[in-house]
């Protein structure tokens, strides 16, 4: 970003400006060097953060998240046994545990959405949006709406909170029974790490700009 006097900003075309979504500070949008970040001077929100091969990384990571999520809901997740009794629970069992009674069903729906459907849906949306951009093609139909949904759903994707919840639950259970980890546990943990890193690193501004210029 260059030093620009306040009065100059008003003369620039609107698509050369960027406003901080958190504090409304207005800047002239200039791409910083690859790997560095343009940060709001007032509230320190990251505004632009270009990376080399960003789209390719996004695609590979989103695909990995989809594959891991499919694995995480199919394979055994956790098991316990004590005094000859044993029980296994999959991720879906865990989410549907509130199923057996009245209002609790609503809670099961929320949990399924927060830990399985929304993280999966967001990964698919990113694939849908970014795949054509990687190939230098025109975006698919509704790509802007899809990316908007992915952004709006961000706070409701709670896979990372769930995995910490697992850790807490297992400490509680450890007194009572012996715990076994299934492959789904490690798949879920891996997809949490990828999702969190992807959300931190994704340069939203570049994607919006690409969507605006090419469609």
């Amino acid at each position: 970003m260059s030093m620009t006097e306040a009065t100059d900003l008003a003369d620039l075309p609107l698509d050369e400006l960027i406003a901080c979504p958190q504090c409304d500070a207005l800047y002239r949008a200039r791409m910083p060097a690859m790997g560095s970040r343009a940060v709001c001077k007032r509230c320190h929100t990251v505004l632009i953060a270009p990376k080399t091969n960003a789209y390719l990384h996004l695609i590979v990571l989103s695909l990995t998240v989809v594959v891991l999520m499919v694995g995480a809901v199919t394979f055994p997740f956790l098991g316990v046994n004590v005094a000859g009794f044993s029980n296994k629970a999959s991720v879906v069992d865990t989410a549907l545990t509130f199923m057996d009674g009245g209002w609790m069903v609503a809670l099961s729906m929320f949990v399924v959405a927060f830990i399985i459907l929304i993280p999966l849906f967001r990964a698919l949306l990113v694939l849908y949006v970014v795949a054509p951009l990687t190939l230098g093609r025109r975006p698919f139909l509704g790509a802007r709406r899809a990316f908007g949904w992915s952004e709006d759903l961000r706070p409701w994707s709670m896979a990372e909170i769930f995995i910490i919840g697992c850790a807490v639950a297992l400490v509680k259970v450890a007194d009572l029974a012996k715990v076994e980890f299934g492959p789904a546990f490690f798949m879920f943990a891996a997809l949490v790490v990828i999702t969190v890193l992807q959300d931190i690193n994704m340069d939203r501004w570049s994607i919006w700009k690409a969507l605006e210029e090419t469609s």
């Binding site: 970003m1 620009t4 006097e5 306040a6 900003l9 609107l14 400006l17 960027i18 406003a19 901080c20 979504p21 958190q22 409304d24 500070a25 207005l26 800047y27 002239r28 343009a38 001077k41 007032r42 509230c43 632009i48 316990v80 046994n81 004590v82 005094a83 009794f85 044993s86 629970a89 549907l96 545990t97 509130f98 209002w103 609790m104 809670l107 929320f110 949990v111 927060f114 830990i115 709406r145 990316f147 908007g148 706070p155 709670m158 909170i161 769930f162 910490i164 919840g165 697992c166 807490v168 639950a169 297992l170 509680k172 259970v173 009572l176 029974a177 501004w205 919006w208 969507l211 605006e212």
Partner: protein, 211 residues
């Protein structure tokens, strides 16, 4: 990011309305963002009413969440019901101090702190405020980032109930507090999302003028 030299101008003061979803700016008066489709509002006064409404239902749901049991545990012929606080106290007496602290922080300190913080932020933008905008923005950022983590106790209950089903040896079932607690977290997340933090910075921290 260097923008306007020392003096930062806002999109609003330049006669522009900014999109909070994709950071594009448009002439004042435009209704929706032509880039991402999000509705535009330079400063949304109705947002404060939504903040108060969501916050109120969030607080209302938090009361039964603490009165009713979160977990029903049965070990052999022993049955017990634990509210959030009782569960944490029991963990602490068994020596799991760290886990008890996590539960207390996620289920009590964060929700209550969040109610106070959101209420304070909503009041602060409607009247001249002493605390500097930078500090209030930091508070908003913390609320937005940490609020979701309260959901951890709901997930703990879900995992325990799914896992600990060992016939009469031991079983754990969710109590009614699980749903009201989850609703309280969801409603306060809506309250935080409804709040427009740009108002914190207007007129050097004195809030936007109603016009």
């Amino acid at each position: 990011m260097e923008g306007a030299g020392r003096d930062i101008v806002s999109a609003r003061s330049e006669g522009l309305v900014a999109c909070r979803r994709c950071t594009r700016v448009w002439p004042m008066g435009q209704r929706s963002c032509a880039r991402c489709g999000a509705p535009l509002a330079s400063r949304d006064w109705g947002s404060l009413q939504r903040v108060w409404a969501w916050l109120t239902v969030g607080i209302i749901c938090y009361i039964p969440a603490n009165l009713f049991p979160m977990l029903r545990t049965q070990v052999l012929f022993d049955e017990s019901e634990d509210t959030i606080i009782q569960g944490a106290v029991e963990l602490a007496t068994h020596g799991n101090l760290a886990i008890a602290a996590i539960i207390l922080i996620a289920s009590v300190a964060i929700p209550v702190g969040k109610f106070i913080a959101i209420g304070y932020l909503a009041i602060s933008v409607a009247r001249p405020e002493r605390l500097r905008p930078k500090q209030r923005h930091k508070l908003y950022h913390i609320v937005e980032f940490i609020g979701r983590w309260s959901m951890i106790d709901v997930f703990v209950v879900a995992i325990l109930s799914a896992l600990v089903q060992l016939n009469f040896a031991a079983s754990i079932r969710p109590g009614p507090a699980a749903i009201t607690f989850a609703l309280s977290v969801i409603f306060t997340m809506f309250a935080a999302i409804s709040f427009d933090p740009r108002m914190i910075w207007d007129n050097g921290g004195r809030g936007p003028h109603k016009s």
